[in-house]
């Protein structure tokens, strides 16, 4: 057995220098400290992305995009196809859990100040990954073509129309027309099943490449470290299994509902809201006054949200420019403040 394993390894080594890679990997270490738990969040995101690709491909076997067929085919998947309910519910639940872990990963990285030089680019690619994942969520939400999805997309894309000068043009670009129709559905499907997977895979590769090149932050100043292989990897795998199990439990006990088919002529159901990860921004835009200094409140809101996004993206640069004594409190204030603000707005949006 051992001889066979060595022979296989030799064969690969002669062609792909795997022993060199293994040698390199054995030097990879993960710092051990109080916040080590948060190091697993990124891995969970990677695992769920894999799960999403897998279940997504399975869904593609029966899903037929189109205003006449999307809803019908999703209904077919969840009622007629064996375990179709499972695949669909896992895909929907996993999407939400993935966004949750992305937030955990991002805020923990921020509060540990792991974005500091030389990891500015890793931080920025991470922000890009969050943006792409949210685009995944937004585009995927429409695909069952049900009432909730239809109106959530209508409301969500309406905001794009508020952008000055090019808003109208952008809205048409996103919707494939001036209204949410079958054309929007086709666009969102292309985005969700082709463009975004390609972009996200590529960007994940870049993000992980950067982490490998730079190693973990605090590797040097941590009191203790553990080898990535096999210690961290095995713990990672065990956590993935637990996450998978949690998703399966959610899928079985709370199967994702389909609701009524989208109907552009029906009146919007009461209390229509976007997915929870858009709720904070949505609530923020909603509570702004109609006009501030003669300019529409929503416009201020869009500018403010984009400003906050840019500030967040450029955190490694402004933090470095601050006087030393300010750095720690500034990160704490922005990190915890941002988290509390998002949580409060989300809760407000949920309750109102």
């Amino acid at each position: 057995m051992k001889a066979l394993y060595d022979a296989g390894l030799d064969w690969l080594d002669e062609r792909l220098q795997v022993r060199k890679a293994m040698e390199w990997a054995s030097h990879k270490h993960v710092p051990v400290h109080q916040g080590s738990f948060f190091y697993y969040a990124g891995g969970v995101c990677l695992f769920i992305f894999g799960l999403q690709v897998f279940t997504g491909i399975l869904l593609l076997m029966y899903y037929r995009v189109g205003a006449d067929s999307s809803y019908e085919s999703v209904r077919y998947i969840s009622s007629k196809v064996s375990y179709g309910w499972l695949i669909r519910s896992v895909h929907s639940w996993a999407a939400n859990i993935m966004v949750l872990f992305l937030f955990i990963h991002m805020f923990s990285v921020f509060l540990m100040k792991a974005f500091r030089k030389p990891r500015e680019l890793t931080w920025m690619t991470g922000c890009g990954l969050l943006g792409l994942t949210m685009a995944f969520g937004f585009s995927g939400y429409l695909l069952p073509w049900n009432e909730l999805a239809f109106f959530a997309t209508k409301v969500g894309t309406d905001i794009i129309g508020q952008v000055p000068v090019v808003g109208h043009w952008l809205l048409k670009l996103v919707r494939g027309g001036s209204e949410v129709t079958g054309a929007t559905l086709s666009r969102f499907f292309g985005l969700h099943a082709a463009i975004l997977p390609a972009l996200l895979s590529g960007l994940i590769g870049v993000h992980l490449g950067f982490v490998q090149i730079q190693g973990m932050a605090h590797e040097k100043d941590a009191p203790k470290t553990m080898p990535f292989f096999p210690n961290f990897m095995l713990r990672d795998a065990a956590l993935w299994l637990l996450v998978l199990n949690a998703i399966a439990v959610l899928a079985v006990f709370f199967p994702w509902e389909l609701g009524k088919k989208a109907n552009a002529l029906a009146s919007a159901p009461a209390g229509i809201k976007p997915e929870w990860y858009f709720l904070a921004q949505y609530q923020f835009l909603k509570v702004l006054p109609a006009r501030i200094l003669l300019i529409p409140g929503e416009l201020w809101g869009i500018v403010a949200l984009n400003g906050a996004g840019v500030l967040w993206l450029l955190a490694p640069f402004w933090e470095a420019a601050l006087p030393d004594s300010w750095k720690e409190p500034a990160v704490r204030l922005v990190g915890w403040g941002g988290l509390a603000g998002l949580a409060a707005m989300t809760l407000w949006g949920h309750l109102s």
């Binding site: 209904r75 969840s78 009622s79 309910w85 499972l86 553990m226 080898p227 096999p230 210690n231 095995l234 713990r235 795998a237 065990a238 956590l239 299994l241 637990l242 998978l244 199990n245 399966a248 439990v249 079985v252 006990f253 709370f254 199967p255 994702w256 509902e257 389909l258």
Partner: protein
């Protein structure tokens, strides 16, 4: 002044018509509120819409600003008609095919003739001036076609329009008539369909009583009147064993069991051997009442099955299960339930059973599908349990492995 100009503006002829100066309007707009109210309501009147004006009905010379001249008998002025004169007043055009051809060739011209056949018309001729004439139902100056929702004779507004007099207890008492018909109607299956569900196809006062020739349908005709919509019910009844006895006793064919203005949604209780309508004539232990009991049992069975199936489907849907097909089957059973109820009018239990059979089969299937889905939902948990066991086992194994490795590493 602004009111005046607004009124003038409203009354201004349509853009393409020559701007005629209607002296009636100019002068009456300066009179009291009651004059202005007439001008205002007439601005939306169908007659005004087709180009008619005050003088078209009231006569006189609308081009003269001398009111003595304009409203003189020489100019053909007839003024406002008395109640007794009203049918003839409207009939000047509405009974004249040549006149009606100009405006609405498809409109009948027999309203006045029909009116004089109605109870209202006959009493008017006998000198009773309290009865309804054209204007009581159609209004005098805000007349709209019956299909216009703002019309006083639009189906949804008819109960209110008839009720102006027929719900007036004092007025009705002088004719020894009840005044509760509109209230009864509003609570009936038809009234609820029209007034609550907005089904404008539901029958309203004039559907059964006629419009211009309004009379109670009478014993002989009521079956046909109800049969306009409830065709099978009438057909089955007329061909059945009960029709002759009904005729002999001069029973209203439908109303004897179903009432007339307060026709409620019929339940199987009508067939109850204790308090059912059959007991009005038949004895408790007669074969007829036994047959009624058998029909009631069959109706209760399909209705019960229909409701139980709905509950089963809802229970499955609450678990997030898709019950579209069971719902279709269940929906299909409604037709059978309907037909079973209709078949009661054959008074033959086997006919009811025959009509109910496909429905019972469909509800049975739908219920099985719903129950199976719920069972399947239970199976999901068992399978999840098995998968959880393996996932936990593997996670535990990996954890123990890491601990072993770490204790070796020291």
């Amino acid at each position: 002044m602004t009111i005046l100009s607004a009124v003038l503006l409203l009354l201004a002829p349509r853009a393409n018509a020559a701007p005629a100066k209607d002296q009636c309007v100019i002068c009456h707009a300066t009179q009291g509120d009651s004059h202005q109210a007439i001008l205002k309501s007439f601005s939306n009147d169908i007659h005004r819409e087709v180009g008619l004006s005050c003088s078209s009905c009231h006569g006189g010379d609308s081009s003269s600003d001398d009111f003595g001249k304009a409203m003189s008998a020489e100019a053909g002025f007839v003024g406002a008609p008395s109640k007794a004169e009203t049918p003839k007043f409207c009939g000047k055009c509405h009974s004249d095919p040549a006149a009606m051809k100009k405006y609405n060739p498809s409109l009948p011209v027999d309203q006045v003739v029909k009116y004089y056949t109605s109870v209202h018309g006959r009493r008017l001729q006998a000198g009773d001036s309290k009865v309804a004439v054209c204007t009581n139902c159609h209004t005098a100056h805000a007349i709209r076609p019956a299909k216009d929702p703002s019309s006083s004779v639009y189906s949804k507004n008819i109960p209110r329009t008839c009720g102006q007099c027929h719900s007036d207890a004092k007025l009705m008492a002088s004719y020894k008539l009840p005044a509760d018909q509109v209230a009864k109607y509003a609570g009936s299956v038809h009234g609820k369909a029209l007034l609550e569900k907005g089904d404008t196809a539901a029958p309203v006062c004039n559907t059964c009583h006629g419009n211009h020739g309004a009379v109670p349908p009478g014993v002989e005709n009521i079956g046909h009147v109800c049969g306009m919509c409830h065709a099978h019910n009438e057909e089955f009844f007329q061909a059945g064993p009960m029709a002759k006895a009904w005729q002999k006793r001069k029973f209203h064919i439908c109303a004897t069991c179903h009432n007339h203005h307060d026709i409620t949604h019929p339940t199987s209780d009508l067939l109850s051997s204790g308090s059912g309508v059959c007991r009005k004539c038949h004895l408790a232990d007669s074969p007829q009442v036994k047959a009624a009991g058998a029909m009631k049992a069959r109706l209760d069975e399909i209705e019960g099955s229909y409701k139980a199936t709905q509950a089963a489907i809802l229970a499955a849907e609450e678990k997030g299960l898709d019950m579209a097909e069971a719902r279709d089957l269940w929906d299909g059973a409604r037709m059978s339930l309907f037909q079973a109820k209709t078949s009661v009018h054959t008074f033959r239990p086997e006919k009811v059973a025959e009509a109910a059979a496909p429905g019972l089969e469909a509800t049975g299937k739908a219920r099985k599908a719903a129950d199976d889905a719920v069972k399947d939902f239970g199976r999901r948990r068992v399978e999840l349990g098995i998968a959880t066991l393996f996932l936990t086992l593997l996670a535990l194994g990996l954890y123990l492995k890491v601990r072993d490795i770490e204790s070796e590493q020291g």
